[in-house]
């Protein structure tokens, strides 16, 4: 049993809630799913893999009966509508939407292809917009079930707060998520809709996406091996290490629970002090 599961065993404070997590098969999304399940929630994961794929079937077998999986592309409105039908049919309600699916893009701005720019915007920005748009009616309805209402949790990044060389497209996409979140937070609150919306800004987290990015840097000759880049990132982080995905899941749990009932339109930066420098 992990420390996070142990905490969950003690509290189970998401009992009765239903959560949808995009990009749920890996990294932060998977850690959030595990945490929500440990707290007693029912969870729907979406991702790009086929349901019969090894990663999907093995993950679902491990997560158990309270979890289900749906193949859905976050850039497709039709796929989000199918996700809504799936949630409606299986649970009839949704209390927590975690817009987590994301991709990265790096390189000098003058070399970025317009198609690559549009792709990252589609996944990181359109995906958050569409998920929110399609699920707002259900979140509003389910928001009356618990004090604190429903919760939209958008995974932005420290790269949505500060610029970084050769990361401009990712910066732009994550900055958009940050302010989209504030816009909907003010909108829902002023319309008395029982939905809160907050963004999480992880720093460097040991995820498959980070590893893939590091591997590209190694292939491009910037480092000898990925672990050297991990060491470099750890050295530039005041806490002196990278985050484990479960530490981002802790913030996603807090924002989903009644404990954050007065938090909406807020940013939770989970970066080991990186942006405080």
């Amino acid at each position: 049993m992990t420390a996070q599961q142990e905490i969950g065993q003690r509290s189970r404070r998401l009992e009765g809630r239903v959560a949808l997590i995009s990009g749920g098969l890996r990294g932060i999304g998977l850690a959030v799913a595990e945490r929500y399940l440990a707290e007693g929630a029912e969870v729907v994961l979406s991702d790009l893999d086929d349901p019969e794929s090894d990663v999907a079937s093995q993950t679902l077998a491990r997560l158990g009966q309270a979890a289900s999986y749906l193949k859905a592309d976050v850039t497709s409105e039709a796929d989000w509508e199918r996700a809504r039908d799936h949630v409606k049919e299986r649970h009839g309600k949704l209390h927590i939407l975690v817009n987590n699916a994301g991709t990265d893009l790096t390189g000098p701005v003058e070399t970025l292809a317009l198609e690559a720019w549009r792709k990252i915007m589609a996944i990181n920005v359109d995906g958050v917009f569409l998920g929110t748009k399609v699920f707002v009616p259900m979140l509003a309805e389910s928001g009356m079930d618990f004090r604190g209402g429903s919760s939209v949790i958008n995974i932005s990044s420290i790269m949505g707060l500060v610029g970084y060389s050769e990361v401009s497209a990712y910066n732009a996409s994550k900055g958009a998520v940050r302010l989209f979140t504030k816009g909907i937070a003010v909108e829902f609150a002023s319309k008395k809709m029982p939905i809160r919306a907050n963004s999480i800004h992880p720093g460097f987290v040991l995820t498959p996406l980070l590893n893939a990015g590091f591997q590209r840097w190694v292939d491009a000759g910037f480092a000898e091996k990925p672990s050297d880049l991990v060491d470099t990132m750890a050295a530039t982080t005041p806490i002196g290490r990278l985050a484990d995905p479960s530490e981002i899941a802790g913030a996603a749990y807090f924002l989903a629970s009644e404990d954050s009932s007065y938090m909406t339109g807020s940013e939770v930066v989970v970066d080991g002090g990186w942006t405080a420098q």
Binding site: I248, V268, D271, G272, A276
Partner: protein
């Protein structure tokens, strides 16, 4: 409650009322042994009487009295895991044009110097923990760190200053290799006894209440328990990668334009 803070020892300054008292109750309910300080003995008795927490009379601005307080915590509990620099004042505050130097000095010494002394002494105590330098320090700032008030210049300045205090302390702890996290929280208007008194004693209480409630698009003030829950989260091991952060808890008041 979950017992998430079992075995931890916490210090809350200004713990006799408002957000401080609410945090004492929450931390104690989650299993922490809590020491709280303040100057109002009567109010302290009520908090101590209804929780397992211990009260020590202490003024955060009294630099000379800090070592004795920390020695007492070390002696009685053997460690320090959580410190909430919460004590605050707006006594004698005013606009920049009108404020008297005494009022300025009072607010700055409590809100700013008092918070610095709390962080300083908390770090020194946490360094002495049996497993090495480890702990979580939370500084109570305000949304007014980002949206200054024209009629409360010292409060606005001091609340902005303590955000920098939290970040500087977080970086220092990182540089030194301490596993001590430092963060600031920035609450909106919270319905404390102090705010209720302000409302009740005003010429038009209904209008004043509506003014406070209307700052957030939720059209309500926060309550003490909601702020205490954030402090408990930051104090717990669940927030183990959060340091140098400033967390706004204001019902979207500053996500948009206040009052709109």
């Amino acid at each position: 409650m979950s017992g998430r803070l079992d075995g931890k020892v916490a210090l809350v300054t200004g713990g006799t009322s408002g957000i401080g008292a609410g945090t004492v109750r929450r931390l104690a309910a989650e299993g922490a042994q809590v020491v709280f300080t303040g100057r109002n003995i009567g109010a302290a008795r009520e908090v101590a009487g209804s929780t397992s927490a211990t009260f020590v009379p202490h003024d955060v601005t009294d630099a000379a009295a800090w070592p004795a307080l920390m020695a007492q915590i070390g002696h009685d509990f053997g460690r320090l895991d959580i410190a909430f620099a919460n004590a605050g004042s707006e006594q004698g505050d005013g606009s920049v044009e009108d404020i008297a130097i005494d009022g300025w000095n009072t607010v700055i010494s409590v809100n700013q110097t008092g918070a610095m002394l709390t962080v300083q002494h908390a770090i020194r105590s946490m360094k002495a923990n049996p497993e090495g330098a480890i702990g979580s320090i939370i500084v109570n700032s305000s949304m007014n760190a980002h949206r200054a008030m024209g009629n409360f210049v010292a409060y606005s300045v001091s609340k902005a200053a303590v955000v920098a205090l939290a970040k500087s302390a977080a970086l220092h702890c990182g540089n030194q290799g301490y596993r001590i996290r430092v963060n600031a929280i920035l609450p909106g208007v919270v319905e404390t006894a102090m705010i209720k008194n302000l409302i009740d004693s005003s010429a038009d209480p209904a209008a004043m209440r509506a003014g406070y409630e209307g700052m957030s698009p939720l059209k309500r003030m926060g309550n003490v328990e909601e702020i205490a829950a954030l402090v408990a989260y930051l104090g717990s091991d669940e927030a183990s990668f959060i340091s140098g952060s400033e967390i706004v808890i204001d019902g979207a008041t500053t996500a948009g334009m206040m009052g709109l």
